[in-house]
Assembly symmetry: C2
Homo-oligomer: 114 residues x 2
DNA sequence: GCGTTAATTAACACATATGTTAAATATGGA
DNA sequence: TCCATATTTAACATATGTGTTAATTAACGC
């Protein structure tokens, strides 16, 4: 799976987004992160695995604790991807832009806007 | 499922992102959108259904064609959500910010950073 | 060593996602 | 009416995601 898909897929779960929000406050252990939720610890553990695989968190080791830390590189990548569409809602995209696009050839297959 | 999760889930598929990129060039029919891909038309039709359910596209009706149109509101919502994390990679988040966060109480359960 | 706490892995259940092919529906035009 | 084109729906196969409980691994401290 490509990186961006993996990131967006990881972010598509509300529990995982809530975990990231908690980590935005600073490092936390698995138990810390699990406390607000009604789901089991193994479930949280697997959510963290998904987040780690996507590079959205990193994990240290302090005795029997595994402190989790927010990593923003993938979020930045989402922001960059989104940036290509930003003109569509920021007013710079008007009827003339639409016309200029219409007279262009059909696009690529890369998954990115042009 | 909450709106943001639905949006991110729809965006997590590379085929669907490529479809959006095509639509960034202007309206297109289902066949237009299917052309660049090696998958069947029904598969594309279902991808479009997912995008439409997430509000990322809208569909008109012209004879037997169903022209698709990019809708940016959900993308804007992603941008807004992401904005809360932007300070983490934009330099305004330094050691003092980290300290201020550390002395705060642990956060909410809303899925949003504070 | 042994019990306690922290976290992960195993085994399972169940729902959802994504693709296929074949059939159905909708519209335009000879 | 009847055929061609555009698109969707049906039925199916298969993979992945998310949760559970029970068992396992890792590290601390008496």
């Amino acid at each position: 799976m490509d990186t961006l898909s993996q990131t967006l897929s990881a972010l598509a779960d509300p529990t995982r987004r809530a975990i990231l929000a908690q980590l935005a406050q600073g490092e936390a252990t698995v138990n810390d992160l699990a406390r607000p939720f009604d789901i089991s610890l193994p479930a949280i553990s697997r959510h963290l695995k998904v987040l780690e695989a996507a590079g959205l968190i990193s994990r240290g080791r302090e005795a029997q604790w595994r402190p989790c830390h927010l990593e923003t590189a993938p979020l930045k990548a989402v922001d960059t991807w989104l940036g290509d569409y930003r003109r569509f809602w920021e007013g710079s995209f008007d009827r003339m832009d639409a016309y200029l696009q219409l007279i262009q050839q059909k696009p690529d297959t890369t998954g990115d806007p042009q």
